[in-house]
């Protein structure tokens, strides 16, 4: 019996109290956030060597519920390989996001910062509780705490829209929790045990043999409940609405902690409640694959039409989370590995994207993609990190996303799911379709000269908006020549002196979402973003350094995945879980 899992949660509780206690001294309060984040990350990381060696840290606080099975249900915290993955991702990224949040909240002059930091800490603690849960009941408890703790963060702005989003979020999440509760009760009834057992709970395997439809119903309840938080369609609608929250929340929680908790729950269900063999025997893999595949494609199609940057990232999150669910449904060892590898891979990249979006908002008040032409001139480091994370989303090698995509492809081929291969190929292309325009508009277009965004809302072939009145984009003759003769390339300006100082942002304009062409893009005649004052001076270092850290993690994981602890952990999980398979 080890104290470390318990210590982590205790640190969180102490941290929350300390944050609340120091509410009148902001710097002390921020200090408490950082201390807690460091402590939590440190203790979690300290358990990694042991877990890699096969040791499972356990903290048990006694029997919780009497009367079922052998010893009743314990309040047990168990750190095994699967929990370690989720815990490592959450705790390390909490540290990064905590630093970022300080910069963000102050830069935006946000209200109610104490509530924000306290609830952020509590949410991460709840996510760690989910990771360390030793049985379904403990997981469910922390799962619901997570919902309640994140609610004030979603509704933080306290506007009408924020409140409505908050209620929607609560409604969805609590209903999902209810389904999980029902599933858990059924499991206890039937199998007498809800502890996580690698390879599946005995009683459920027996049930699958005797009464498959009941077993399927239980799986539907459990997985369905977890699907809500994992953003699987059709229970995804809370996620785009939740983007009204401050960006650190959208990043850490709705890209890393909360949605991954949902995916993690599905993983626990597949690995440790039912076991991959039983799930396959019940024929449930196909159902999960169908839900996940349709979510991937539909969410990507929706993402194409969003002009609001965070909304586009939200739909991207929905699609990417379903990569994890897809892998868990395919059930081949490679696919299971791909699903688990996607937890850190997507977390690093998606957090980078959200942190960049937040920096753009705080520094330049840029929320819409149609405001972004040329913005990389003003914020080069931020947009470079954005580009790196976007390449990862598309699954390009050297970036984290390739690691999981490769395994998912192998898994789908291995299990004979040819359509899934095409879903993955299409999804990769769709990712390019909705991320590349952001990258190219930031780097290679300018406020005075750009094609309209979002692409689908404008005519086929693009509508070239130029600052010189009367100059339309023609398909041949003179307009192209200015670029092809090599004399007028953007390169030329590189060696010249810095442009003169002017107003920073071009005039604001109406948002442009979905269809409709009545947007006006106001162009100033020589509109160009100014360069930042110094090399890393584009925004506060509190925000810039976390962005650089997560961007670097994307590259490190993409090139050296084999040497990160994650790979070994995941290989162990999959090997243990599939030991009984005839493959």
């Amino acid at each position: 019996m080890s104290v470390r899992p318990g210590v982590v949660l205790l640190l969180v509780v102490v941290g929350v109290l300390a944050i609340i206690a120091s509410r009148n001294r902001p710097n002390v309060r921020e200090g408490w956030t950082l201390v807690t984040a460091l402590g939590v990350a440190g203790v979690t990381a300290s358990m990694l060597p042991g877990v890699l060696d096969g040791y499972t840290y356990e903290t048990s606080l006694g029997t919780f519920v009497d009367g079922f099975g052998a010893d009743g249900i314990e309040f047990a915290l168990r750190v095994d390989e699967l929990g370690m993955i989720f815990a490592l991702v959450s705790s390390s990224l909490y540290l990064v996001t905590a630093i970022y949040s300080i910069g963000y909240m102050r830069g935006n002059d946000e209200h109610d910062q104490t509530r924000f930091f306290a609830m952020l800490c509590l949410s991460v603690g709840a996510a760690l509780g989910v990771a360390f849960a030793g049985n379904l009941l403990v997981l469910l408890i922390f799962y619901e705490v997570l919902t309640l703790a994140t609610y004030p963060l979603v509704a933080h702005e306290e506007t009408e829209e924020a409140r409505v989003s908050g209620y929607k979020y609560l409604a969805y999440a609590l209903t999902g929790g209810l389904a999980i509760f029902a599933g858990m009760v059924a499991t206890v009834w039937v199998a007498g045990d809800v502890s996580f057992t690698r390879g599946g709970i005995e009683g459920l395997s027996t049930l699958a043999d005797d009464d498959p439809w009941t077993a399927r119903a239980i799986f539907a309840l459990l997985a369905g409940g977890f699907f809500v938080k994992a953003g699987v369609m059709p229970t995804h609608a809370w996620l785009p609405s939740a983007m009204v929250a401050p960006t650190p929340v959208s990043g850490l929680l709705h890209a890393v902690a909360v949605v991954k908790a949902g995916a993690f729950g599905v993983a626990r269900t597949v690995f440790d409640v039912f076991g991959p063999e039983t799930v396959s025997q019940l024929g449930l893999g196909v159902v999960v694959v169908v839900f996940a595949s349709s979510t991937i494609l539909i969410a990507s199609l929706f993402a194409l039409r969003q002009d609001n940057l965070k909304a586009r990232l939200a739909y991207s999150t929905i699609a990417q989370l379903s990569y994890i669910v897809l892998g868990l449904g395919i059930l081949a060892p490679a696919a299971l590995m791909g699903a688990l590898l996607h937890i850190p891979a997507h977390a690093f990249a998606k957090l980078t994207l959200f942190l960049c979006a937040g920096a753009l908002y705080v520094q330049l008040d840029v929320k819409y993609i149609s405001q972004m032409p040329g913005v990389a001139r003003r914020m080069p480091v931020t947009m470079t990190a954005f580009a790196i994370a976007a390449f990862s989303m598309a699954g390009l090698p050297l970036f984290a996303g390739f690691v999981s995509k490769w395994h998912l492809l192998i898994g789908s081929a291995d299990a004979g799911y040819l359509p899934v291969t095409f879903v993955l190929i299409t999804s990769g292309a769709l990712n390019v379709a909705y991320f590349w325009p952001i990258v190219y508009t930031a780097f290679f277009e300018s406020p005075g000269e750009h094609g309209g965004k979002p692409l689908l809302g404008y005519p086929f072939g693009g509508k070239f908006v130029s600052s010189t009145p009367g100059k339309k984009a023609k398909k041949h003759k003179s307009d192209e020549t200015a670029l092809t003769d090599g004399g007028e390339t953007p390169d030329k300006h590189e060696d010249e002196v810095q442009d003169k100082q002017e107003d920073e942002a071009p005039d604001k304009h109406e948002a442009h979402d979905e269809d409709g062409g009545s947007t006006t893009v106001t162009d100033k005649s020589n509109a160009e973003w100014d360069r930042p004052e110094s090399r890393f001076g584009e925004t506060t270092l509190l925000m810039l350094v976390p962005i650089m850290v997560t961007g670097t993690l994307v590259l490190l994981f993409g090139i050296g995945a084999d040497y990160s602890g994650f790979f070994e952990l995941i290989e162990t999980i999959v090997e243990e879980a599939t030991v009984g398979d005839e493959r």
């Binding site: 929706f302 192998i410 190929i425 290679f444 072939g461 041949h476 090599g486 995945a561």
Partner: protein, 593 residues
């Protein structure tokens, strides 16, 4: 392990990239030229063998794995890269152009140096990113073009990945990996699904028919100096990859190559934009190469790779000549300027030598490699393939007659400023290569795979007469079809179908689905609102449900009656209703559970 084997050429380029960031332009460019020349020299002296390895995702990546094929590719890629950098320098391009050009070249070098499929896939995709950004640098319409290019290559790269995955499964292996060397290049890609997927994936980069529209689209859009880089690497890496996938040949590949030779030449004939014309010729010439590799005999493969080598030289020269015209006159299309005549001798010389090489006139390098290919085809006894190659050659003669005529002979005489000395040097180097490998082709044979095993002796009468016949037919074709060609502005290619389909189709699908979800969402919200109103303000709900005639009377009733519903239940009735409900619940509990 020989020390040379431990230096991946891509690493040299990486070092050049780093230096190009910190050094000023006048130092970075010459250094890069020297560095790439060093890479070419490396290829000439490095022995066969394997260099460093790296464990990636459980597989063993062979970072450097040298055989004769790799040696040829690295040599020509390095040498041409140096010349392309030189061209860019003398065209006053900046450092960003150098950076992304080097990235593209470096990724290509990686791709042809690795010894396993996973390493190749990595290089393949990095080439796609680097070239996309490289195209975007040109700004303007190149941006949207680069976007389409990225989409095409994303699909191609994913198909290749899927093909390699299928190959892995067909070998009986999977992940977690038991044999890390399973993906080393062996005897090609497994037959069946793997071959199809990998073939199409590689084919996108090779511009096979149906997946080729990105080629003329993209290579004609950016700055002239960018096109000089682009024309060399992506398509030739695909030819190399085709060899690795099908080292024993593949008859489908050979016929596709033949079809490409005709298709490319035909569409080239219809182009007025200089670089589009040259781009379609890339497709045609790659078709020639694929015929050789598809046949799979030693002469075929040697011929295919000889043609690859020579093609880089003369196609580079042609893109340089077109680039010089664009730089001088600022126009892209042959009908936008008059007759250059002899006013720009370097440009004229570049074009002439390039055209004579690509058409395969004796004395130039194209003649030698084309002879090898036609000999290989006749050794196989395949008449259809031979006819396809002849038709491709005739089309090539016709389109270069057209190019030469319109650029140099047709229209008002104009005075071009000729190329500067630096460009003259680049032209001289490329032209010299074309002539050298045409006359002293033994030098090329030494570098070729199977070079020592094949007999190459193309300077005999029958062969020369064959070329003369093809040339005549080509020029006649041009003269005869001139009136028709005058009216063609590029023709209708497959992208006229798949581009609108992709755009409007995606828009329709996302709009349709969005509409559907929106409708469901609105329905749900309406129901929720109704429930909420029902609880808080029942009177509103009720008056909404009543027919118009009764609404007024109901409103009066609500005003007079306390409470929210407008109805009064006396105590007795209330108690009865409550009692009935409770009794029903009790009954359910007692009797059903």
């Amino acid at each position: 392990m020989n020390e040379l084997l431990s230096i991946p050429p891509a690493l040299i380029v990486l070092a050049l990239l780093g230096l190009s960031v910190v050094l000023p332009r006048k130092a970075a460019y010459p250094l890069s030229i020297l560095g790439l020349a060093a890479v070419a020299a490396w290829a000439l002296v490095v022995p066969d063998g394997t260099g460093p390895t790296y464990q990636f995702l459980g597989f063993e990546l062979l970072i450097v794995d040298v055989d004769q094929f790799t040696r040829l590719m690295v040599a020509i890629f390095g040498a041409f890269g140096a010349l392309a950098v030189a061209f860019a320098f003398f065209a006053d391009m900046g450092k960003r152009h150098l950076f992304w050009g080097l990235s593209y070249v470096g990724a290509s070098l990686w791709t042809v140096t690795v010894g396993d499929w996973l390493g190749l896939v990595v290089g393949w995709e990095v080439m796609a990113i680097a070239s996309t950004i490289f195209v975007w640098l040109s700004g303007g319409t190149s941006i949207r073009t680069g976007y389409r290019y990225a989409l095409a290559h994303a699909i191609g790269g994913s198909l290749l990945m899927a093909g390699i995955v299928a190959h892995l499964i067909a070998l009986g292996a999977s992940v977690p990996v038991t044999d890390p060397t399973i993906l080393h290049f062996g005897d090609g890609v497994s037959e069946g699904l793997a071959a199809v997927l990998a073939g199409v994936g590689i084919g996108v980069n090779a511009a096979i028919i149906g997946f080729h529209a990105w080629l003329p689209d993209t290579y004609s859009a950016p700055t002239a100096a960018t096109s000089v880089f682009l024309c060399c690497y992506t398509t030739k890496t695909a030819v190399y990859a085709f060899y690795r996938a099908f080292p024993n040949g593949n008859i489908v590949l050979a016929y596709m190559g033949g079809a490409m030779a005709i298709y490319g030449a035909a569409y080239a004939l219809a182009q007025k934009d200089m670089r589009r014309l040259l781009s379609y010729h890339i497709q045609a010439q790659v078709g020639f190469m694929l015929v050789g590799i598809g046949i799979g005999s030693t002469l075929g493969i040697a011929g295919g790779f000889a043609h690859l080598f020579n093609h880089i030289l003369y196609k580079g020269l042609l893109f340089v000549s077109a680039g010089l015209i664009i730089l001088q006159l600022g126009v892209n299309r042959l009908d936008d300027f008059g007759a250059l005549g002899r006013s720009a001798p370097i440009t004229l010389g570049a074009f002439l030598i390039g055209a004579l090489s690509i058409t395969g006139v004796p004395g130039f390098n194209g003649f030698v490699s084309k002879a090898m290919l036609t000999d290989a085809v006749s050794a196989e006894g395949s008449t259809p393939l031979m006819i396809m190659l002849w038709m491709g050659s005739i089309g090539t003669f016709a389109s270069f007659a057209k190019f030469g005529y319109y650029a140099f002979l047709y229209g008002e005489p104009i005075d071009g400023d000729d190329a500067n000395l630096g460009h003259g040097g680049v032209v001289a180097a490329l032209a010299g290569g074309c002539i050298l490998f045409g006359v002293y082709y033994v030098a090329l044979l030494q570098l070729l795979p199977f070079g020592g095993e094949v007999t190459v002796d193309p300077y005999y009468l029958a062969k020369m007469l064959e070329v003369a016949a093809l040339a005549t037919a080509g020029i006649v074709l041009f003269v005869v079809s001139k009136p028709l060609l005058d009216r063609l502005h590029g023709g209708i290619d497959v992208n006229k179908a798949h581009d609108p389909l992709a755009f409007y189709g995606t828009r329709a699908m996302s709009g349709g689905l969005g509409g559907l979800f929106g409708a469901v969402d609105r329905l749900v919200v309406r129901c929720a609102e109704g429930a909420r109103t029902g609880v808080y303000e029942p009177s509103r709900l009720i008056s909404g449900a009543l027919p118009d005639t009764l609404v007024d009377r109901y409103e009066q009733l609500v005003e007079r009656t306390p409470g929210k519903t407008g109805f009064k239940l006396n105590i007795g009735l209330t108690l009865s209703v409550a009692g009935t409900i409770l009794g029903a619940i009790l009954a359910v509990i007692l009797f059903i559970l």
